[in-house]
């Protein structure tokens, strides 16, 4: 019973407060409107509002800038790295293809240079019929030195034909089939070629020993021989033409006993790089063979 007047009083007080607050707000709004529309000045209130909103804007803007920076620095980089990886793969593949092409063109250039040298050498052999051939196989044994070439009797290659390249004498045709031939290399121990020392015109026999050097035999001790002397084919017997480069004297072993020098000759031909060869066709070879058979 006692509580009723208190509730009524508080209700009245609340109503009073609301009215006062609404009046205050309306007054402020009226003042704001009048002052804004009337004077068009950026008044204290505006400044106050701006001061209050500015930091918020600043925070939001900075946050957004930070997010943007983060995105550009990390997420975009991630995307870029994925894209770059793809690009990298593509470029590596392209590079490999280009390297292959480059290697092929290099190989073609080297072959071209080698064949050009061979052609130049061929042109120096006046009126000599030659057949170009390629080495297709090598001797599997350690005791013989021969190679198989891709030209045979169908290309007029005969047994005994000299085989050369642009550096000099390589060997001699040993066996012939219609399309292939076996060439006994000059470094083989069973090979023997008539040669001359170019300077002193002393004649000797050049033999192989299976290594990358020749032995020059039957040079009398009275003959003048020096290291560096050029050795060329003698042309006796009509098989090898005269003056073909064979090698250079590299070592002279003078022994107290015996009639002859022991001479080592370094081949002018690089046997490690043999690829293309020329077979010299000797027109007289057939006649020589016929004469041999008649004997």
């Amino acid at each position: 019973m006692r509580k009723k007047p208190t509730r009524k009083r508080s209700d009245r007080y609340r109503l009073f407060r609301i009215v006062i607050l609404a009046g205050l707000l309306m007054t402020l709004a009226l003042i704001f409107l009048v002052s804004t529309l009337g004077s068009q000045n950026f008044g204290s209130l505006h400044k106050l509002v701006l001061e209050a909103v500015g930091p918020l804007q600043k925070v939001v803007t900075m946050s957004s800038a930070y997010v943007e920076t983060f995105k550009s620095e990390y997420i975009d980089i991630l995307q870029d790295s994925l894209r770059l990886r793809e690009e990298n793969k593509r470029l590596i593949q392209q590079l490999q293809e280009n390297e292959n092409i480059l290697n092929k063109s290099r190989e073609a250039m080297a072959t071209n240079a080698s064949l050009r040298k061979l052609l130049e050498f061929k042109n120096t052999l006046d009126q000599q019929q030659v057949v170009a051939a390629m080495i297709v196989g090598k001797d599997p044994s350690t005791t013989f030195r021969s190679v198989i070439i891709d030209r045979g009797s169908n290309s007029s290659v005969m047994k005994g034909n000299p085989v050369v390249n642009n550096d000099g004498v390589v060997g001699q045709v040993f066996a012939v089939t219609p399309n292939y031939a076996k060439v006994l290399l000059a470094i083989a121990p069973s090979s023997a070629i008539d040669v001359l020392l170019q300077k002193s015109r002393v004649r000797g026999i050049l033999k192989g020993d299976g290594t990358l050097t020749y032995r020059l035999e039957y040079i009398l001790k009275t003959a003048e021989v020096e290291e560096g002397d050029h050795v060329v084919t003698a042309g006796y017997g009509g098989i090898f033409p005269t003056g073909l480069q064979v090698g250079v004297v590299s070592k002279i072993i003078k022994k107290p006993r015996g009639m002859f020098h022991e001479i080592e000759v370094t081949p002018s031909v690089d046997y490690q790089k043999l690829e293309n060869l020329l077979i010299l066709q000797q027109p007289k070879l057939g006649e020589i063979k016929q004469m041999e058979q008649q004997r």
Binding site: I135, V136, G137, K138, D139, P140, S141, T142, T143, F144, R145, S146, V147, I148, F174, K182, L184, L185, I187, A188, P189, S190, D209, G210, T211, L212, Y271, Q272, K273, L274
Partner: protein, 180 residues
């Protein structure tokens, strides 16, 4: 089929040795695959089929090599019969135990053939070099295991019949019936 397949494999190995494995005519570390085949035939195949396989192989080797025909025939047949004699007396038939024998027989036979040719035609061959032949022997030993594996595969493949004759063979209907 075994004979035909081994002839083809042997020829391929010889061609491989004389082309890709020998970049230059004086190339030393070219493995003698043919000798491993000779050893395989001596250890794993019967005499008749082995000889049929060896004839074309030695013929090709002699054609491709050197000046003295018959060198490889001598080398391969000597090696074959030597290894065959040894294989009959060996207690184990595992390749890993046979590799040293193959390598040593290669060296011994090569040396014997060299001496024989030197006796017949002195000065016609490259001088014997122990270290070079030891290198070749090591290569033969190294190639033996993988090549034996390959040859086993070839033999297994060759023995597989194209037509299932064994299934077509007629069998008596009472072969599992208990005898009364």
């Amino acid at each position: 089929m075994v004979v035909f397949h081994f002839i083809v494999v042997g020829l391929l190995l010889v061609i491989l040795q004389t082309t890709i494995c020998m970049p230059t005519p004086v190339w030393l570390p070219a493995p003698d695959f043919y000798y491993v085949l000779v050893a395989y035939l001596a250890f794993r195949l019967d005499l008749l089929r082995s000889l049929i396989i060896l004839f074309p192989l030695v013929c090709v080797l002699d054609v491709l090599s050197g000046t003295v025909l018959g060198t490889y025939a001598l080398l391969c047949f000597s090696g074959y019969f030597l290894l065959r004699q040894f294989s009959a007396k060996l207690p184990v038939n595992e390749i890993l135990y046979q590799i040293p024998l193959i390598a040593l027989s290669y060296l011994a036979v090569s040396w014997a053939v060299y001496l024989f040719l030197e006796l017949l035609q002195p000065g016609q061959q490259v001088a014997w070099s122990w270290w070079k032949m030891l290198v070749r022997m090591m290569l033969v030993a190294l190639c033996s295991y993988p090549l034996f594996f390959l040859f086993d595969l070839v033999q297994k493949y060759s023995q597989r019949s194209f037509l299932p004759w064994n299934r077509l063979r007629l069998r008596s209907d009472n072969r599992r019936r208990r005898q009364a």
